[in-house]
Symmetry: C2
């Protein structure tokens, strides 16, 4: 796994964000429209032709393989290919997370037709995906890097499509382990909860705070 | 949650599959191209305009809300909006699962740039999403319906993007609970394992087989 440094100015960073953000947003709209359309067959066939032609124009010059995780020289992150938060990845809802002073990570987001499992509800696997990401961010909110060991997701009731919130925080530390808890909620309360065990790499174990149960050192 | 019956002929079913399948596949290509393109700004802007115009044409007539889970009068399933297996859902890789005689569910699939987390690797949340789905299918492979109670995902090592396999099977039964185990593997072996506890609704409990550890009654 390698992280890529791109030595670009803030201006160039903003130019790219303004260019790729709206393009990706239009693809998110397209994904939704392809699921829900009831137009005539000839319009569907036209759409297919136009999309294939756009793909060809974009692929005329492209990177090999996946996007990777890039950052600027002043360490602004560009995880733009990421499946959950990626600015250039139309599979991502995308999540915009907020890190609070106490280490709590929160995110408010909307899931539409593209995230359906049971009728009208979010696919249970999508809930697990979102919780994996949010708990992972909470696990690293103390700036001690860690990777996911296990993630246990508990389904309390179906999660309706629509406006949702997720949050997570470190609740305990034990040696090289951090225990993180989180949940997805709708307007009526929690629908899915999760607990994750995150492991600090051996060469970082020395910087782990001693006290258990304190979200941030 | 409601399931929708569409009283259509086999011919009409096949016509729709042949119409929407390739359209969705072109959107999957587009998602990948938008992540990886390095073309000039004017081509990106053109692409954005063309996609928005396609969206408008498809939205001229569309269903309200999400696709739901539909089936034909002879019970052929059309889970075409599903986030993991949906024929019309470009967010879905999509997974094509096989149910074996012993209740084992297997699926071979390829994950590209759109499913990235760490550089060159599958997002851990995407692994959890896929395992949730495959374990869910395995849990219902004995034709006794059940819903996911808890899902525990254990990350053994990073999962590389590319060709992968997932499988799952019921390993135990206890009252109204079924225990299902599964894993994702690359060519070198397992990368993520999962165990799920699936709950049989009360009014179905009577049909649960008595013997534990037998994958199929």
């Amino acid at each position: 796994m390698e992280f890529t440094l791109e030595d670009i100015s803030t201006q160039e960073f903003e130019r790219r964000r303004a260019l790729y953000g709206p393009l990706t947003e239009s693809v998110r709209e397209l994904i939704d429209a392809v699921i829900r359309t009831e137009t005539d067959e000839d319009i569907i066939r036209d759409a297919h032709g136009q999309i294939s032609s756009v793909v060809e124009s974009l692929r005329a010059k492209q990177i090999d393989g996946a996007f990777g995780v890039r950052h600027t020289a002043d360490l602004k992150g560009m995880p733009w290919g990421n499946a959950v938060i990626g600015l250039r990845n139309a599979v991502a809802p995308p999540l915009h997370t907020t890190r609070h002073d106490d280490g709590l990570i929160t995110t408010d987001f909307t899931l539409g037709a593209a995230y359906e499992g049971p009728p009208g509800c979010v696919h249970g696997g999508v809930c697990a995906m979102i919780l994996d990401h949010v708990l992972g961010q909470a696990g690293s909110a103390d700036d001690v890097p860690c990777y996911t060991g296990t993630l246990t997701t508990k389904y309390l009731r179906p999660t309706p499509l629509g406006r949702l919130r997720a949050e997570a925080i470190i609740v305990n530390r034990d040696g090289r382990k951090k225990i993180v808890r989180g949940a997805i909620s709708d307007a009526s309360g929690e629908t899915v909860t999760a607990e994750g065990v995150f492991i600090v790499p051996k060469d970082w174990a020395g910087v782990m705070p001693e006290a258990a149960g304190t979200p941030d050192p």
